[in-house]
Symmetry: D2
Subunit: 343 residues, 4 copies
């Protein structure tokens, strides 16, 4: 059995890791840390886990974590980058769900996160954990930086167009929307039900931290710098991300439906919908899956791509488990065969 | 592999059966019927099933269904009672999720459902599919009548009290609430999001069809007639039932926490919460589980029990699969190991 | 123009007072206080008020408040009881939306709120602001204690039965449910959308602070002590309270529909629904109104009353304005003519 | 008193007209029609109106309607165009909330609505009821075609840019989202709470009927043809429209904040938010108001405008009342002074 540790287990990506790993036959969660809830049983905080785990939160300790084969960081940014060097040195492999290792440029990281990076020497080694782009590198990685939720939905939606050079890379647009669980489990007035239910708004229009990560990933695929206007919105619901992507066609696009189907034909967790079917966040709820549709409204020169994921699964914990499976040469869908919960 | 057929597969209990059975290693769904959607692929109607089933809806035909080992009826009342006799005659075992075989008294059935019963001769044979009460009988049954969603939550909540004769059986009260999926997938103005979101109301106060079923089941346990005041309410959400139950203590109750824990100690799908923890519908979302708490507010003479299930799982399709497992001597939790989806 | 001050204006009852008073022709809000938001424009925090007020939050100062004709306290408990004596001494009339003056017994207050009462000498003078019971006393009051939201819904529902001695006063049951705005606008994980959306739970079963207030009020009406089993629940929505009330009939009840209609015939804000119609929280959303229905299911001996209000209007700020109108001899519905927002 | 008739009063724009007109001192609703609900009291269908109207639905009859000063059509398309000629002939003024008279080109109308127009001779006379563009023409109109909900939000958001020629008119993008009430009060599976709650999706990507209306209006303002890529989405909530608009700047934009503020300075129902504040649908809930913000993310060459309205108020019934006030030379905000309901 693979021994797994989770740092920062009280948040939503932590409980989601536990939900998914409960169905994973080859791993055992041996440690889950939380300073605030140290000593409390996991299933006291998350009663959906009763009967599935006999585990309590502990203070994070390097020795305990270093004894694991794999450690997941389900923490806010600024935690992993301080602990990872020691864990790697101990031979533990790390999958970081936070933003600490997603950008390759330490100065860019600092400018968006407002502080120096604590282990910039690892930025070059860290593999960006989008299996649909980096599967081979992930397999050999010691340190994987899991993509953010918006970046996963946006990149999977735009990659086929940019890889083929079909659209203007300097004027991409992403109008995306997320359920409130994307904001985490922190006590903030802004995320109270009474503040965000029955309402919809854009936020972070002046600059969202996921923007540089998306532009970095898309530029890799395009082979040229890209510029994206990225407007995230907050949905009055818990789970789900939907990205509506707009790009100007550079010329005759050919059969885009076929292009998308071929690009993702071998991908177990990307599902290009048949023509005429549009994705809904509910059809991927709880599942490690990205569903995508592509259209050219009015046969004009603007292509529209719709891409949807569950932000906590393919946008976070599910993708992290997928990365772990690839790193450990386990079946890529171990622990990830859940059918979306509909209705 | 056990061959399974589903009659009436377009409703929510139908898609939920498919979701659960996708994780069941010993069964194969070979037929799913729908008059309205005949010919349409199942995953076209329910895109969460894409990649999990290669199946289309067919017209219901007795020959095809009779070739199955087990047939589930996920239909409104008045369908099963017409088809079941032929299927039983063909040696197929039947699990009916509808109300057709839940009441033993054909006249009572007719008075609540407004029509004669089409196969009253089977009412005596049909086993009421609440495993926590009837496990042995279910194992040998040809025909199992799955309990309704409210009846499951209410009965599991009150059984320990009535079995021990601790409360006045003539003045039980159930104030229960259900998500809208309990009303099914029919085109009705009353169930539009714009009609029922952001609102709460009681309904069926004058008489709900689940009342006689609950009173029948509780009387069996109590060994005496019971009277229940049953007020269901509609919650502005999709899934979940919560029953708040009130009963007058007849005398010294003793340790009710211990009573409940002992009564359900061997039950894989009933979870008595520790003292001080109250159930929430979200902690059983998507799981085949009933979570229960018991309390005596102010140490007066009224006991309060809170009981919660997912109406589509332990209140319908999950319980149906549990019954199937018992009937076929499979592990009782096959296909039912899903962890609740939280948040 | 009546000069109005509001203490604690950043919470939901504060903004709701402003919404209602914007439509009140005889009053002017001259001061609104908040320590945390001092200096910030009211319409910066609550953009729905843009164009309706030219007002900023200020630090609470007795001198400024004492210059008002009426001061509303829209604060948590433990604020009003410290400031009110000075304001009364200055001749200002006070309407307290908090719990500080609702209980007549200072020791009982202390046992529920865990601290000594700061101005117990005023408890006897404070008038409980339920106009349907105390209109005359309110008219002459210097200090009105506005009822809580649950207490308003429960008392209005049970008063006709208790006033006529038709039910057993020692075994009343209230199964009530509230939208999340009832929990206020504080940064608490428990009230995040991701924690309470799509879910339903009971809370405070062991003892909710609204219980003694309800029992005190009902005992006054009944002329005898009453005992209530009170179970509040949390609804996955913002506004609305629905109370489902159960009582055992002592004898022949007569025509309960007529009883309720007569009891409230002259009440502008209590609406007894016609037979067969059940209240919904959405039909009173935003309106200062209590809608009530009464039924005897199965013609047995338990009466069920359903009572619904908007917790922020008839359950708080609307009732406060109604009290102010009565105190100042203004038309009772000034500022309170809003039609419920449906859908 | 102005005598008002409403055709098709059972839908959401019908009840919303009644809610708003209840607060309008200069009008009296004398007739409200519905074939399906003829004879039923209005407040039996909509209990929020109890005490505000003593009115029942009637069969639509030209004579009764022709006796009104103003008739609102709150109907699906294809109703008004058959009745309006007779009403106009009788001297009654008409405000049509449906799509029948919004497009000036009958052939274009037919191609989008799939049938011939029944009174194409009136298309030239009908005034498009967007007061912010056509106030003078509305004042003298016999027939006003109220804009659709999306068209109102999108046009108000883009008008300042197009009027000044600041952006490329051939590549506008609108990513808009609507609450479910925009789909009306029809019995459709697609709009059940269980189908659309907790989910988000695009729809009508291939072509939405509001597209030609928007392009017609924007072309008028721009003085040149425009092309808009319009993607509507469905929000899991009842009320509210939010449009996120993207346009490519043609050159130096100057001070866009000042441009927007000046363009709408005299408009009572358009509120340009201060810099840094973004609109939310909840802050206009129930109010006849459009709130707008403008930004240029990363100081690149794409401008983003966010525009929000309540689809049933400024997007339908409120705008209709505003048009009526202008037509009848009443204060433009009569009946429209409601403050948004927040939270």
């Amino acid at each position: 059995m693979v021994k797994v540790g989770i740092v920062g287990g009280t948040g939503y990506t932590g409980v989601e890791l536990l939900r998914l790993l409960a169905a994973h036959e080859q791993v055992e969660v041996v440690a889950i840390t939380s300073r605030a809830e140290s000593g409390r049983r996991v299933d006291d905080l998350y009663p959906n886990l009763r009967g599935h785990y006999d585990l309590a939160f502990t203070e994070p300790q390097v020795a305990q974590l270093a004894a694991c084969d794999v450690v997941f960081f389900a923490t806010p940014h600024n935690v992993a980058m301080n602990l990872v060097p020691e864990l790697l040195a101990a031979g533990t492999r790390v999958i970081d769900l936070s933003a600490d290792y997603r950008l390759r440029d330490a100065r860019q990281w600092s400018s968006w996160y407002g502080e120096p990076h604590a282990s910039p020497e690892l930025l070059a080694e860290a593999v960006y954990g989008l299996p649909e782009v980096n599967r081979a590198a992930i397999a050999g990685a010691r340190l994987v930086a899991c993509p953010g939720c918006y970046p996963t939905a946006v990149q999977l939606g735009l990659i086929p167009l940019l890889a083929e050079g079909l659209v203007d890379p300097a004027h991409l647009i992403a109008s995306a929307a997320s359920g409130v669980s994307g904001a985490g489990r922190q006590a903030k007035v802004d995320n109270l039900l009474s503040e965000v239910a029955d309402s919809f708004k854009a936020y972070g229009v002046a600059g969202h931290r996921h923007l540089p990560e998306i532009e970095q990933g898309l530029a890799d695929v395009a082979g040229t710098p890209v510029q994206l206007t990225f407007v995230p919105h907050l949905l009055p619901m818990i789970r789900g991300i939907h990205a509506t992507l707009f790009a100007r066609l550079s010329g005759e696009p050919g059969d885009l439906q076929a292009l998308y189907e071929q690009r993702y034909a071998a991908e177990p967790f990307v599902d290009v919908l048949p023509p005429g079917m549009l994705p809904q966040t509910r059809t991927v709820r709880g599942a490690n899956r990205c569903q995508i549709a592509v259209a050219i409204p009015q046969q004009r020169d603007t292509v529209v791509v719709m891409s949807t994921i569950d932000n906590l699964v393919k946008g976070a914990s599910g993708q992290a488990v997928q990365n772990m499976n690839i790193m450990l040469n386990l079946p890529e869908d171990s622990g990830l065969r859940q059918v979306g919960l509909l209705p």
